[in-house]
């Protein structure tokens, strides 16, 4: 079953039972402590949670979630396109293409996304480039995620066996045709799980809309909390929405991974 333990004997079974009880108790104790702390400060009062059983609150948050989705989809589409170009650039046999692509990936990997957001927010307007709010979030996220996607695509392309592209060249396809018709379709399948899990990271990044004041989910939560004063309740609900969406995406990534592992 696992490399760390065998089928338990009578003594091990007793120990496992003890650990089960202890673990459950510890988890319950932590939960109880949290609930006590909430209760002692009046955060469990029904009227503080009741608003989140009403439609207008949810409509507002779901509008935020929709904006999150829009920003995430735009960022994903743009950064995947840019990432693919960068990956092909890094694998090119012309040095003047290879070097800048590699430099882009290596530099962006070590710059915080928030710094890029600040650059777009405060530096670009000084040079006469004042983007709409939506693009103030999407552009920096695209810049940073493109590097991540480039590495994923590059790994995918390199994982396709040499013989495939050699065969393509041998039947008289050009290098571009070989890449487009033979290598990329196979690479795309292999990197699908990584792309989905990178998309979870990307969706998490859109919470930087909080800084940009673009009305995505977290920023909507802040606006709502400022308005109704229900800080904890609002942000807990926001966190649960993120958790539900991202957990489904992560599950999709795992399913895809299992499926491609089964095929291989």
């Amino acid at each position: 079953m696992s490399l760390l333990f065998d089928e338990p004997g009578p003594r091990a079974r007793r120990r496992i039972r003890i650990a089960t009880v202890a673990g459950t108790l510890a988890a319950l104790a932590l939960t109880a402590l949290a609930i006590r702390q909430f209760g002692a400060n009046g955060q469990l009062a029904t009227e503080r949670w009741e608003p989140y059983a009403t439609w207008p609150m949810w409509r507002y948050l779901l509008t935020g979630l929709w904006s999150t989705a829009l920003a995430a989809v735009a960022t994903a589409a743009l950064s995947m396109a840019l990432g693919l170009l960068l990956a092909l650039g890094r694998l090119s046999d012309r040095r003047w293409v290879r070097a800048p692509s590699a430099a882009y990936v290596e530099v962006v990997r070590v710059v915080p996304a928030l710094l890029l957001v600040y650059v777009v927010l405060f530096a670009l307007p000084r040079y006469g480039l004042d983007l709409p709010l939506f693009w103030k979030l999407v552009v920096p996220l695209t810049v940073s995620n493109a590097a991540a996607f480039a590495e994923i695509f590059r790994a995918g392309i390199l994982s396709v066996e040499r013989g495939q592209s050699e065969a393509g060249l041998a039947v008289g396809l050009t290098r571009a045709q070989t890449m487009r018709l033979i290598v990329l379709p196979q690479a795309a399948r292999r990197v699908l799980p990584s792309i989905v899990s990178q998309s979870v990271g990307l969706l998490k990044d859109t919470s930087l809309g909080f800084v940009v004041s673009y009305g995505e989910l977290l920023y909507s939560g802040r606006v709502l909390a400022n308005y109704n004063g229900l800080l904890i309740q609002t942000f807990v609900v926001v966190a649960l929405i993120y958790l539900a969406v991202n957990a489904s995406l992560s599950k999709l990534a795992r399913t895809l991974e299992r499926r491609s592992a089964a095929r291989a």
């Binding site: 490399l3 760390l4 673990g23 070590v110 710059v111 928030l114 710094l115 904890i232 942000f235």
Partner: protein
């Protein structure tokens, strides 16, 4: 350029806070991540469930949401702490999920015979984990852990969004005063690149020293 030099003390202070946040939260994440890995490979189903739930929760929540929740929410339930401390704890808990995931893949990469041999010698679960499995698992995940360290450095910038003045925020404040974005932001970017380069250098050295030739 003078904009950068005039404000060197503020930027230096910001860099120090970034380093503090990075080192302290990575150390915390390493410890918590190891404990969670131990839970996830233990023979007790409840503990495995708790470990998996932890990793799933923290990997699927944006760090900024956790920071906002901690900064605005904890005082509401009577837990007050220094902003820096709160940020360190939150980032440590968040990165612990990633450390745990990396370590678990390392544990899975340890050859089956190693665990069997440890048990055959009569080592308990804890002993075989501590003396046999984890030391070997750690060697295979030096590179992933280095990447997590770099990601932690990048993520500490988010603490700036909730009132901790670290390098990114310090740079932004200097820029708001001086209105010279290019030297200031490039300078801050270089500082981050330097931290990442150091981390890369150290992990490279560690990997060469720890690698096992089979």
């Amino acid at each position: 350029m003078s904009a950068l030099l005039d404000h060197l003390p503020e930027l230096w202070q910001g860099l120090l806070v970034t380093l503090q946040l990075t080192v302290a939260s990575f150390a915390g994440a390493a410890v918590a991540g190891t404990v969670i890995t131990a839970l996830r490979v233990s023979p007790v189903a409840v503990l495995r469930l708790l470990g998996t739930a932890y990793v799933e929760t923290f990997q699927n929540l944006p760090l900024l949401v956790l920071l906002v929740l901690a900064f605005f929410g904890l005082p509401e339930i009577g837990i007050k702490a220094e902003p820096l401390t709160t940020a360190i704890v939150v980032i440590a808990l968040y990165e612990a999920a990633y450390v745990a995931e990396a370590l678990r893949s390392g544990v899975n990469a340890v050859a089956r015979g190693q665990g069997e041999a440890a048990r055959a010698l009569g080592l308990t679960f804890g002993q075989s984990l501590r003396h046999v499995i984890l030391p070997q698992a750690l060697r295979t995940v030096v590179q992933p852990l280095g990447n997590i360290f770099i990601a932690t450095t990048m993520n500490t910038a988010l603490a700036g969004a909730v009132s901790v003045v670290e390098l990114t925020t310090a740079a932004n404040r200097v820029n708001l005063v001086e209105a010279q974005p290019i030297p200031i932001f490039v300078g801050a970017g270089l500082a981050y690149a330097l931290i990442a380069a150091c981390a890369g250098f150290v992990t490279g050295r560690l990997e060469r020293r720890l690698v096992m030739v089979r």
